[in-house]
Amino acid sequence: MALLSLDNLAMYYALESEWVKAVDGISLSLDRGETVGIVGESGCGKTSLILSILRLLPENARFVGGRIVFDGMDLLKLPEQQMRRLRWRRISMIFQNAMNALNPVFRVGDQVAEALMAHEELSKREAETKVSSLFELVGLPGSRMNNYPHEFSGGMKQRAIIAMSLVCNPDLIIADEPTTALDVVVQDQVLRQIKEMQQERDFAMIVVSHDMSVIAETCEKVAVMYSGRVIEQGNSVSLFHDPRHPYTMGLLSSFPTLRGEKKRLSSIEGSPPDLSSLPEGCLFQPRCPYAKTICEKRPAMMDLGGQHFSECHFADDPQLRKTKLWGR
């Protein structure tokens, strides 16, 4: 059984007179030791999706359908008190802006220990020993526990945040843009560290990023989000080598690469639809260079075999793959 499965999950924000459909029918599943990457433009609902899993949403958020099953428990039915025990102990998070996620007036080691002591019956000394060994594990000298955040560089703070996410030995770690603020050399080492931890401890991971290259290198599965829906998902090799949705194709031809052939880049013109008044038909149709009359109708998720799914009428049409949609 999958460790985490989202089944047609829908979460809307209630505004005065309308709904903002931030998560609109998303199904995903994730096994132990597996990493799924979530990509998409800003405002496509990535953050709403991961905050839904942790149930850390603002007051006006409503779950309007679907289920989140984590290790056999239906998270949406779990009383808040049990949910609290689950958070951080079993599902932890690496936040987007690690630079600001640490409190400047407390020692870094104490902040990591606090997360541990909140969930486990440990003495201060036991907690400190554990934190110090975790520091070593993420590549920080144990003695730096007594430093304050301002004495750390960006990469070191990010490592401390990773240590903090690992303190309770969780089953699932959600990483929201874990390395976006870091320089490329540091990013590379932090990502490698995370992958090594994962091999050692076998936790599952959800990585949210706008950087397709980071996703390609760290994730076994990829889900491409657009307007609150996953419009294509599959294992990363088939998705990167044989994308079957015009949007994914567009994303893949929109950024330059350091290696290989130099291609002319194309951007995806227009902007994503307003989440409070979604179009009737295919969500991507207004920006899609391949749009036909049939696209006025909402396409169903098409199973392309090998766990590859795409929400496009033409996903299995060989013509779509032959056509050069983006870039002239």
Partner: protein, 334 residues
């Protein structure tokens, strides 16, 4: 118009330095260890030439001095020493009208269009501002210029955008306004500091291609500052890699990125991820952290992180040496 490749460069930067004094705060003032004034050497002995029509990339990690170099070249900072020769004339000696003329020819595009546009100005007002400052055209000519520049940066039809405020535009549209604001004065040289790093991946290409188009059609010269080597590869024909305020490698972009010689360039390149899950990239191991810019290591400032360091590296600062075809490297092993 084809970019003119003249023998005299548009910009000639000679031994440029910018040192910022370190402020002594709090109890340090009463310290018994008298150390004298210390400096952050943001830009230290940088020399290069930019020819007309060229896109010249400055790349490196944060804190390497690329933004400060850009600010010096766009007249937002004054150098501690060294000179910037623009069209044969030293910027330091320029005054009055000549200076104002220069400011008109040198424009900037900043990183974050959420911060570089005045939130209380409409698009119209934002684009009129530079024209008013430089006293260009009559009322109707100015309005016409604004419309035509909007058309050129791909915001069509212009009248749909004129009365909008920045918050009514998407990130990509905002950056297009920033490009329009730089282009409206008909500049020869544009300093673009990370112009796409704050934008969504899906719209980055649009801005990059727009800048390339202006170079092809109008022969605009760019100083393109970026931390992203892949973007530098796409945009530029020449590249300088900087580290702790100094240049470590310079040459044609294709040459430098195909045959990097400096260990730092190699380290940077090996850390860039590939958008191919089955690629299996070879990584160079090294110390990841950049040294403290106030206490720059002796000799070659990269030596503590360098895999190929020798004894001499800690003692002597390496000079830039030509290894052929205008490819310069500051490394004792080159």
């Amino acid at each position: 118009m084809q970019p003119r490749q003249g023998s005299n460069p548009l910009i000639d930067v000679r031994k440029l330095k910018k040192y910022f004094p370190v402020r002594v705060t709090g109890l340090q003032r009463f310290s018994l260890r008298r150390e004298g004034q210390r400096f952050v050497k943001a830009v230290d002995d940088v020399s290069f030439q930019i020819s007309r029509g060229e896109i010249f990339a400055l790349a490196g990690e944060s804190g390497c001095g690329k933004t400060t170099t850009g600010k010096l070249l766009s007249l937002l900072e004054t150098p501690s020493s060294g000179s910037i020769i623009y069209e044969g004339e030293d910027l330091a000696n320029m005054k009055g009208r000549r200076m104002k003329h220069c400011r008109r020819r040198i424009q900037m595009i900043f990183q974050d269009p959420y911060e570089s546009l005045d939130p209380r100005f409409t698009v119209m007002r934002t684009l009129l501002e530079p024209l008013l400052v430089h006293n260009i055209g009559t009322h109707s000519e100015r309005n016409e210029l604004v419309s035509s520049i909007l058309e050129k940066v791909g915001l069509r039809p212009p009248r749909d955008f004129l009365m909008r405020y920045p918050h009514e535009l998407s990130g990509g549209q905002r950056q297009r306004i920033a490009v329009a604001r730089a282009m409206i004065l008909n500049p020869t040289f544009i300093v673009a500091d990370e112009p796409v790093s704050m934008l969504d991946v899906s719209v980055r290409a649009g801005i990059l291609n727009l800048m390339l188009q202006f170079r092809e059609e109008l022969g605009i010269t760019y100083l393109f500052i970026t931390h992203d080597l892949a973007v530098a590869r796409y945009m530029s024909n020449k590249i300088v890699i900087m580290y702790l305020g100094r240049m470590v490698e310079m040459g044609s972009t294709d040459e430098v990125l195909a045959q990097p010689i400096h260990f730092y360039t190699k380290l940077l390149m090996s850390a860039v991820p590939t958008p191919d899950p089955s690629a299996g990239r070879v990584r160079i191991k090294g110390i990841s952290e950049v040294a403290d810019p106030v206490n720059i290591p002796s000799g070659c400032s990269f030596h503590p992180r360098c895999q190929g360091r020798q004894e001499i590296c800690a003692q002597l600062i390496p000079e830039m040496v030509d290894v052929g075809k205008g490819h310069l490297v500051a490394c004792h092993k080159a």
